[in-house]
C-alpha cells in the first residue's frame, strides 16, 4: 500500500508540474529533497541517541514500570489482547505519555521502540500484525493534551486566547482515533471471515 502512495505522490507531482508549468521547480526539488532528507536525518540522529540513552536509564531505574502502571488501563483499553506487563506494553505507555505531553521529538524514538517490541511478539516478522496496525493508527491520530505549536502560531497572529482550540482539537483527535480503530477492527473481522471460508 505504501508503495502505491509513494508512486502516486511522485506521479501526481510530475503530472501537476506539467500542467502548472513548474518543471524546473520539480527538477530542483529532486536535489533539494535529498538534501532536506539528510538534514532531517542528522537532527533526528541526535534525538534518537538522546532518547535512546534516557530511555535505557528509565528502564533500569524502574521509572518505565511506574509510568506504564499509571497508563495501563488506557493502553489496555486499546490493546486488549496485549499482555499488560509485556515490554511492548511498557514501551507503548512511554510513547503515549510523550504524545500526551506534546513531546513530539521524544514520541518518535519511543514509538519506534514500541514497534520493535511489538514486532518481537509478532509471529511473521516482515508482516504487520493487528497490534502494530493499532499502534500506528494511535500515533497518526495525535492525542495531545496541550497543542503548543498551534497555540504559539495563533498567538503570533493576535489570538487573544490562543488555547481556545484545545478542547476542539482533543474532541476531534479522540473521535478520529475511534473511527480509525473501528475501521481497523472491521477490516480484521472481514478478512478473517474470508480466510475461514477459503
Amino acid at each position: 500500500m505504501i508503495n502505491y502512495i509513494w508512486a502516486a505522490l511522485i506521479v501526481i507531482s510530475v503530472i501537476s508540474a506539467l500542467f502548472t508549468g513548474r518543471i524546473s521547480e520539480i527538477t530542483s526539488a529532486v536535489y533539494k529533497g535529498g538534501d532536506s532528507a539528510i538534514q532531517l536525518c542528522i537532527s533526528m540522529t541526535a534525538i534518537m541517541a538522546v532518547w535512546g540513552g534516557l530511555m535505557r536509564i528509565a528502564e533500569k531505574s524502574g521509572l518505565t514500570n511506574i509510568i506504564s502502571k499509571i497508563l495501563s488501563p488506557l493502553v489496555g483499553l486499546v490493546f486488549h489482547k496485549l499482555d499488560r506487563k509485556s515490554e511492548a506494553a511498557k514501551a507503548i505507555s512511554m510513547n503515549v505519555a510523550a504524545n500526551m505531553l506534546g513531546l513530539g521529538n521524544a514520541a518518535t524514538p519511543l514509538g519506534i521502540d514500541a514497534m520493535k517490541k511489538l514486532n518481537a511478539l509478532n509471529s511473521k516478522s516482515n508482516e504487520a500484525d493487528n497490534n502494530m496496525i493499532t499502534f500506528v493508527v494511535l500515533n497518526t491520530a495525535s492525542i495531545q493534551l496541550v497543542p503548543t505549536t498551534i497555540a504559539a502560531l495563533r498567538s503570533k497572529y493576535g489570538a487573544e486566547n490562543p488555547m481556545d482550540i484545545a478542547v476542539a482539537i482533543i474532541i476531534t483527535s479522540i473521535i478520529s482515533l475511534i473511527v480509525g480503530l473501528v475501521i481497523n477492527k472491521l477490516i480484521i473481522i472481514i478478512t478473517s471471515r474470508k480466510r475461514e471460508t477459503h
Binding site: M1, V14, S16, E25, A37, A49, A58, S61, S176, G180
Partner: protein
C-alpha cells in the same frame, strides 16, 4: 502561562529520569551510552525510508499538485460544507508535517486566527499527525514490508479528523 510551563517540561522530565537513575543506583552514564548506541543503530535503519519519503514530498510541494487536487476536490468539499480555503490543509496534513505548519502560518496570516477558516485549519492541523511519515519510519525501523491495512485505517482517521474539524468549529467556536 502554558508557554512557560511547556518550556520547563522537558528539562524537568530529563531531571526526573536522571534522579530516578541515581536513586536506584543505576550506572547512569554507561547505560545512557548503551541506549544512545541502540538509538543510532535504529536511526541508520530508517534513513532510507526518510530519504524516499522526503524526496516525494518535496516534489509534491514544488509541483503545485496541492492546487490541482484542491481544485479537483472542490465539489466534494462543497458537499460537506468545507470552505475551499481549508481543503489544502486536509490534503497536506498526512503528507508533510513541516508543510502543514507552514500552511497554517500562511492561513492565519491571511484570514486571522478567529475566522472560521483560521479556526478550522488550526483544529485540523492539531488533531492529526504526518501519517505517511509515521508509517514509513515506524515500519522501516522494524523491517516490516507488508503493512496490510495500516494506510486505509490511518487515512480513515485523518479523513474523519478533517470532516470533524469543520463540524466542531461550526458547533463550538
Amino acid at each position: 502561562m502554558i508557554d512557560t510551563l511547556s518550556a520547563y517540561l522537558l528539562p524537568a522530565i530529563i531531571m526526573l529520569f536522571i534522579l530516578s537513575g541515581i536513586f536506584k543506583n543505576v550506572n547512569i552514564f554507561d547505560e545512557f551510552i548503551k541506549g544512545a548506541e541502540e538509538g543510532l543503530k535504529t536511526q541508520l535503519k530508517i534513513v532510507p525510508s526518510i530519504v524516499a519519503l522526503v524526496l516525494a514530498v518535496e516534489m509534491f510541494e514544488a509541483s503545485g499538485a496541492l492546487d490541482v487536487i484542491t481544485w479537483g476536490l472542490q465539489p466534494l468539499a462543497n458537499a460537506i460544507n468545507m470552505p475551499a480555503e481549508v481543503v489544502p490543509m486536509m490534503i497536506l496534513r498526512p503528507i508533510s508535517g513541516g508543510g502543514a505548519i507552514a500552511l497554517l502560518n500562511k492561513t492565519l496570516q491571511t484570514y486571522g486566527p478567529i475566522s472560521k477558516i483560521g479556526l478550522m485549519s488550526s483544529v485540523m492541523c492539531g488533531s492529526s499527525e504526518t501519517t505517511f511519515y509515521t508509517i514509513a519510519v515506524y515500519y522501516g525501523a522494524c523491517g516490516v514490508k507488508k503493512t496490510r491495512h495500516t494506510v486505509i485505517a490511518a487515512l480513515a482517521a485523518d479523513a474523519a479528523a478533517a470532516i470533524l474539524s469543520v463540524i466542531i468549529v461550526n458547533l463550538l467556536l
